[in-house]
Subunit: 419 residues, 2 copies
């Protein structure tokens, strides 16, 4: 019987050092989000396979870990395809389960409902450095709030959390799906090609305007449309960031865009800028697309200079819950890049503030029982005083044991019988 | 596209009310165990199917949720049995993953290593009231400590946690596999029947000595052995609890039992009794069996009067890690009945102490953006002061909204434009 010592492919064990940081970060996140009135909830890690494969998860639906049917339900003989073998799958995000949760429990929840979820999700991605097949997501969502109060609260809460974790000088980039669409319409692109155009636009960061132009041409779009389109982005780049860029862009797009869309975006930016706690900037970014097809309005993303790419994001998805309930429910969410934050803190050698004092009593091997109690009593008293106390047997290689404990921050005391 | 609103069969959504209690209990558990020097770790929720089905999980191995192979590895055409279709499974406990973890990382871990795990496990049990197919386990384990210091620390830490959660007047029942075996040997039962005898003995609680006698007879054991066996238990019942019962039982078993076994058990009981923080009793219980086949020495169980059965337990399992490493590693663990504790606290209408003040600002629908900032600033200030603050749009049915918020503990303020 040869047992495997390694974790399963693409997943990892979390060692004490990292775990301490994860617990600390989780604590800050929960405390901060709770101060904004978000309530923790949990859903099972498994969902019905029909829900998971309902075309709301985009590419993630190809990465589902599926659960084999059990007992009589598994009919291997007459199974013709994978679908006959499975009844559930591991969730690939926390948004779809939240939509199901809300549809199931709306009557017992406050309106609006502010949910906080921290949980594992699974994706059978090709394993690569720093990306794992099981990872933690950390989402806040406001359900039942149609106004941009939702966006403002989500951004304030998320940035307050990042600030408390020591991040500063970052950006929240914001855009609107309605503006994305209006820009494409204004340029004269056919409506059924919008999604393809946005996929190309999404690469602006990496390939620049020339690259986007080239790819749009290669896709066979009209030169005139392409040049009108790129012109719009140039305008936004010419020193007109934030509020001003929105104003001039939206006035150009009038006829293609409802007036309130730009106004709402401006109000979000202004309200956040005036009440923010952390050190960051709101930036209007008309090239921001965000992949997931379910967004219907505002979209936003965190850009932290220390990271290459984004460190979380979100947006408004007013239609997803309707897929469960039939009736539309306004919804808006923000997901913080938990794993990237942990990775960065680990790389920076992050030290957790205000750690309790650590004391280790090392007990000689043949210490008599009645004396042992005295050491235990000392240990219990120190624990009552808030210390972290270890009572351990003295190893043969005492020096090595003490060195290791000292490295972990323990002050060690040796307890001999004949002392 | 009909999507399912309910969670998958046998699993449950956790609503805000329960989640608050779970988070509170988790916090107490982590803080208390940390004060005893236990370090949190995590392993993936999936394990290789070979590890899970290595006959260390007893009956639980029949309840594994299995993960379908993916991509090219899934060869449905030539699959002859379930085993050809799966490569991983969901963990059914936290002990087997811990053994794998320790085997994989021992070089980077202190010795002894005191691990704390709180995590979900999955068992495809028949759904029944109050038992779910996904549930939280909460284990502490001490690896690499051969002496009974491990048992003492585990029991002190677990009972301190229960005490901080408000439990009192409970019992820790303790026994030794070596004593169980010696009692069977003394009575003259054949060695290969011990496990069967222990399965019957395990029912003592429910069927009493007469029931055990009857079942042993029905299994065809010798009358003489049965009566010798039951005599031993009677002796322990006749007013001789704790230390005295161990002394007299072990002296009767001399020749079948190493002297140090009884002595060790006595020292555990004495040390715990003299240094315990919570209000509970140590009780020697020679009928305590504990199902899992992997225990090798001490076994113990929590009995809380409010519960029918046990509310957690554990013991020494010195051989399991050796299945991964080849060499034996002493190990001892204690699992606290997390789900049962939550259930009991919920039933008792448990109120979390020291909740922050809750304030809700309800904002009139067409509140202008510049005034909104003033409300947001008030909210931010209250959050800085440690309050939990909600800013929400006033619903059409304002009265109902306020009632709900009041029920959740919020003080509500209405914010009108023309005020």
């Amino acid at each position: 019987m040869a047992l495997a010592k390694k974790p399963v492919t693409g997943m990892k064990d979390i060692l004490p050092e990292e775990m301490q940081i994860r617990d600390y970060v989780t604590g800050i996140i929960k405390d901060t989000y709770r101060s904004f009135g978000f309530t923790p909830i949990e859903t099972p890690c498994m969902e019905n396979i029909g829900n998971l494969c309902s075309k709301q998860g985009g590419e993630n639906e190809k990465l589902i870990f599926k659960i084999l049917k059990r007992g009589e339900k598994l009919k291997l003989d007459c199974a013709e395809s994978e679908a006959d073998l499975v009844d559930m799958g591991m969730r690939y995000d926390l948004t779809l389960p939240l939509a199901r949760f809300y549809a199931n429990h709306a009557n017992n929840l406050p309106s609006p409902f502010k949910a906080l979820q921290i949980g594992s999700v699974w994706r059978a991605d090709r394993p690569q450095r720093g990306r794992y097949r099981q990872f933690t997501q950390c989402d806040i969502d406001i359900l039942g709030e149609p106004s941009h109060l939702a966006e403002i609260e989500l951004i304030l809460a998320t940035t307050a959390t990042l600030g408390k974790l020591g991040f500063s000088g970052f950006e929240i980039r914001i855009n609107e799906r309605e503006i994305l669409k209006a820009m494409a319409a204004y340029s004269g692109f056919p409506e059924d090609s919008y999604e393809n155009i946005f996929i190309i636009l999404d690469k602006m960061d990496k390939i620049g305007p020339d690259g986007v132009e080239k790819e749009l041409k290669e896709s066979g779009f009209k030169e005139e449309s392409i040049s009108k389109y790129l012109d719009l982005f140039q305008m936004a780049e010419k020193g007109q960031t934030g509020i001003k860029a929105i104003e001039s862009l939206c006035s150009r797009l009038s006829g293609f865009l409802e007036e309130q869309v730009g106004q709402r975006l401006q109000e979000i930016i202004e309200s956040v800028e005036q009440t923010k706690e952390a050190d960051f900037q709101m930036v209007f970014d008309p090239t921001l697309v965000r992949g997931m097809g379910y967004y219907t309005g505002t979209i936003f993303e965190i850009a932290i200079p220390e990271f290459g790419g984004s460190c979380g994001g979100g947006g408004r998805y007013d239609k997803m819950i309707g897929n469960f309930t039939g009736g539309a429910v306004p919804a808006c969410g923000f997901s913080i890049g938990f794993e990237r934050i942990i990775l960065l803190l680990m790389e920076q050698g992050f030290q957790i503030p205000k750690q309790p004092k650590r004391t280790a009593y090392l007990i000689e091997k043949n210490y008599p029982a009645e004396k042992l109690c005295e050491v235990m009593k000392k240990a219990q008293q120190a624990r009552r005083d808030g210390q972290q106390v270890l009572v351990a047997r003295m190893n043969k290689n005492k020096k090595f044991q003490k060195e290791k404990l000292t490295a972990e921050g323990y002050e060690t005391f040796e307890e001999f019988f004949n002392k």
